[in-house]
Amino acid sequence: MADQKTLAEPGGDAPYRRMTRPMEGRLLGGVAQGLAAQLKLDPVVIRLMFVLLCVAGGAGAVAYAVLWMIAPREPYEGAPPPRDWSQLAAFSAIGVALLAFGWLTGASKGGIGMLPFAVGGIGALILWQQADPERRKGWVSGATKSIRGNRVRTLLGVTLVVIGAIGFLAAEGELAAAQPGLLFTGVVVGGLTVIAAPWLAGLWKELQLERRERIRQEERAEVAAMVHDSVLHTLTLIQRVAHDPREVVRLARAQERDLRNWLYQPAQDADATLAAAVRRIAAEEEDAHGVAIEVVCVGDMDIDAGGRLAAMLKASRQAMVNAAKYSESPTISVYAEVEGDEATIFVKDRGKGFDLDAVPLDRMGIRESIIGRMERHGGTARVRTEPGEGTEVMLTMKITKD
């Protein structure tokens, strides 16, 4: 576990974020991916690290299990995506190969003595991950700038390699005796690196390319799904109801709104903030009545727990319904504004308007659902209308934090 704590340090400069286990792209429990995201490293490196630690005394398995338990699963909607079994098999194969190697060379008998090896290996992996083609070019050209940004991580990698090597030798108690052997080992490793580096670099590059391609394909699939599910569907519907212009307009508007939301609006929880809730109500009433409702929002606030904004939203919905049903105006303008602790919603139409005093007392729409409701919750509602001049309903509510 100590190893992971050290590894977690470089992430410290970023704002603290709790580690989660993503469902998408997980191989086992998503722990390696979550950790990778947390440390801004490649998941492959983390996975190899776990494999290495598993082989070397089983610490990896314990660490994995512990992390699995403490890291919450990332929320994911729909059926969990299938795992990439081929990758899992590949990592298992690496583990088995390492185990066999350890057993053959007798290194595994060293038990705890293998740990330094593992630490060294992890360090090397981190170093390797740093060395993507562009960064390597940066190194060659002597541009120290690119390294400076990741100096901490690079330093950590180097330190781990050195500590691993020294620790191993110290554990074996032959640090002094190993000096000539160390030299030759260094030469051999150097030689192997020189031989294998271009090939490994090529492999790495290919892997990156492949991943980018996969991401692109996933994006395209998402767009295709969106177009298919909504746009094509709506176009078909429009052809079928072509004789009913009202319905055609309604369908087209609904589809336009959907597409706009998807393209331009951040994903919002419609019940969390005032602006999102107003947009949703407008969309629902637009759908129900086939009248275009244009919404403009300035500022935003969370829906209060006291239910005052909820009451205001209900009143605004009633105002929209009235305008859509009775005003005969082709469009309705809704403007929601939050300034300081005051929320205001305007609902305006350019329809035929009416005489407010002539509205019979038993008509619940305006008097009860709008004015009464606002006043009961400590807000105010004003209605401005005149026959032929359209109608504007103005709702104001003060939200004091309590």
């Binding site: 331009y264 244009e294 469009t331 305007f346």
Partner: protein, 210 residues
Amino acid sequence: MTRVLIVDDHRLFRSGVRAELGDSIQVVGEAEDVETAVKAIAELQPDVVLLDVHMPGGGGQEVLRRVLGSGSQVRFLALSVSDAAEDVIGVIRGGARGYVTKNISGRELTDAIRRVADGDAVFSPRLAGFVLDAFASSEAPSIDPELDSLTQREREVLRLIARGYAYKEIAKELFISVKTVETHVSSVLRKLQLSNRHELSRWATARRLV
């Protein structure tokens, strides 16, 4: 008679606009991308260019950069299906004198063109909302207080536009003349184009990431 050039990459849309515009407007030409637009503007010298924001070859902003960069006095009215903040703020800061969305009615569009031709600015409710939002927060120290904030009156005018009021209705509401309303809107446009408020640029892009 106002002479107008329509720049849009959708032929159907161009002919639609042509049919909808009132008698006081004369469409002198059409262009379908940045290259043809720049050439047509130089040749025809229209009073107003109806400019689509998204087009092949760099979009409306590229047209603005090349035409206004060469010192031309042609006036632009941006017309787009997009109501994304960075598009709207982008073309306005690029030099367009107004922004309307394509679902605008023919009568309103005619009105908007006439207004731009007269040197005034045209704000859609949504653009007014964007501006109110962008000038609302006051965390950053302002470099030029005159440019970096709106006057109370300008705020009132913008708020009424956002509420769906026409200029005439705003004038009646605030007991001022339509000309004064236009002056206020033009002044807001100038601030929008010249202000260095970093909220303006940052906000427009951040809006998508939030």
